[in-house]
Symmetry: C2
Subunit: 341 residues, 2 copies
DNA sequence: GTGAAAGCGCTAACAC
DNA sequence: GTGTTAGCGCTTTCAC
């Protein structure tokens, strides 16, 4: 059942059927009704595939993230979906599992599906396929992770140096000097910048960094769980731990709880990024937070803005949106203990 | 740049280009190489929109859920995505926000986008658009919520009566009789069945149900937070609370923590569905759990199974997969207090 | 092993 | 206000 069938049934041409479906004004009310009735009667469903081919636009946007298990990316998705829905775009979802090969395939698919835009958190920011998007005029908006080579793409980030500095300064003001950090993957911007931010903030505070206190957590729950255990095994464990993202915070929290370490009496725990329940754990966790749904919403705006400009969007230079972060002091940060665990 | 262009450039016909792209065997190796080279050189990207129109199949599946904020649905998505990726299907994501109107629009879109299948958690299980999927031969797999009218669609559920019974029996065996439940939305199957299951299990245990102990939490964090506060305000609060899903458990937990109620010394808390961190809260929470990613994986299998059968899939009768659940006893359930808070 | 050509279902320019 | 028609880019049957 297609427009031609409906046309025949209604005694009009298929062009008229198309006009009715697309709400073209210059259709006689009578004709309109007639066609509408036939459509309903036969349960005709418009074929967007054919339309998309004809219009070379799909009203479709790719959402490509490395790990949908990370609640951060679902919060972003919420805001993004909201914007897309408002503007009539649908989302094609790709999960790359932090895997370069899978990421390539996903981008290839998105390309062939002719998405009108792409919101991506890339594993491989030097991916050649990015160029394909560019040359086809498909706008890309990046979150959190910038392309390493000077990028032409819009992106939404936070000031990672500042975010970590807020945490360090907060701990220092409480009297801590034995501060550890569980850092993330260094080959992505947030990992690199947050670690450097830590080192820099410590330097500024005039506190020497103990190398034993700088351990990798790989931005994962498990990695940070182990990193925390490693920290606990030290002859002199730190009095405070700074984690690099929500997952790391969860891992460190879980490890401290499991080892019966009291927070913050024995060790203070603070991290970057808030998450569901973080404010209701025992104790509620001190974090630096941003609005995740806002990230998604702004990404959607930037993207659809460019999409609607058409090919001229390339004339608009790269836009970098730095979202504000806020230190949210709860109860997991306190004065340092003055004894050894 | 399309296949015709490539054909001209390589000095072959567009049919040959198509064959090369689709890995057709009967192409001379030499021709194959030549075409391949031109494709790479000019960065040609295959157009799936045109292919989909031609083949009237899109290798695309709809994933429609009421609330992507709920970690349950993202865990399901993980398993589902895994299967889809393995079989070469892409996912079109729809979030209905528990809104009947939005759900309708989403289903309409999915229909016009000609998805090959649909994994859905429906708000309105009597939705007329379901019939459109049926008549177009597009298979649907339902999770958790069955159609109320005798449904023809495959679905993946758990035995809600049994799940709640496990919780009730566990509490009873610890000595509880003042058991409360924070139940969910009654117009969806899990809500209805879990509440009925509670009432039935209590009856079987020979324990009268105090009407004050049966409060609605609407399957939300906020709703259950308030429900818990309501319970705490009672002259004689319950000694144990059973929550109806992961979000309710979080809400109840948060409320108890905020009101300095000790778990389980003052009140035991147990719920349906596990979630990230549930095992690492203070105390770790006792829950009835299932494998969420398995839900997604099986849904994917069932769906693609039918898709690959083509139109004959209609001859296969409805398949209902009841996934096992398991009581996971942690530390949030203990003997009842013998005093009033 | 390769090419010519029809046609998937739609939209939009053009004609009337 | 409505119809005719070309064509979006691809796959696939049929010839050779």
């Amino acid at each position: 059942m297609n427009q031609k069938d409906i046309a025949r049934l209604a005694g009009v041409s298929s062009a008229t059927v198309s006009r009715v479906i697309n709400g073209d004004d210059r259709v006689a009310p009578k004709t309109y009704e007639k066609v509408k009735r036939v459509i309903d009667e036969y349960g005709y469903v418009h074929n967007a595939v054919a339309r998309n081919l004809k219009k070379s636009s799909t009203k479709t946007i790719g959402y490509l993230v490395p790990d949908i298990n990370n609640p951060f990316f679902t919060s972003v998705l919420v805001g993004f979906e909201e914007m897309c829905y408002a503007k009539g775009y649908d989302i094609i979802f790709e999960n790359t599992c932090e895997n370069v090969e899978k990421e390539k395939k996903s981008m290839q698919t998105l390309l062939s599906l002719r998405v009108d835009g792409l919101l991506a958190v890339l594993v491989d920011t030097e991916n050649k396929l990015i160029d394909s998007f560019d040359s086809m005029g498909i706008p890309i908006v990046l979150i959190d992770r910038k392309s390493k080579n000077e990028s032409k793409h819009d992106c939404i980030i936070i000031d990672n140096y500042d975010a970590v500095k807020k945490l360090v300064d907060h701990l220092v003001s409480l009297g801590h000097t034995d501060i550890a950090t569980i850092y993330g993957s260094l080959d992505i911007t947030p990992g690199e910048e947050r670690l450097n931010g830590f080192l820099e903030a410590m330097k500024q505070a005039g506190i020497p960094v103990n190398p034993d206190y700088v351990v990798p957590g790989y931005f994962t729950v498990e990695g940070s769980y182990e990193a925390t255990e490693q920290l606990l095994k030290l002859k002199k464990p730190p009095t405070a731990i700074i984690t690099a993202n929500n997952l790391s915070t969860m891992g460190a929290y879980a490890a401290l709880v499991d080892h019966k370490i009291r927070i913050p009496q024995d060790i203070s725990l603070v991290g970057i990024d808030d998450f569901l329940l973080a404010g209701h754990l025992t104790p509620p966790l001190t974090v630096v937070r941003r609005s995740n749904t806002t990230v998604g919403r702004i990404a959607g705006e930037m993207l659809m803005d460019r999409i609607e400009m058409g090919s001229t969007h390339k004339r608009i230079p790269q836009r970098i949106k730095v979202l504000p972060t806020e230190l949210c002091v709860r109860e997991s940060s306190g004065k340092p203990r003055n004894y050894t665990i």
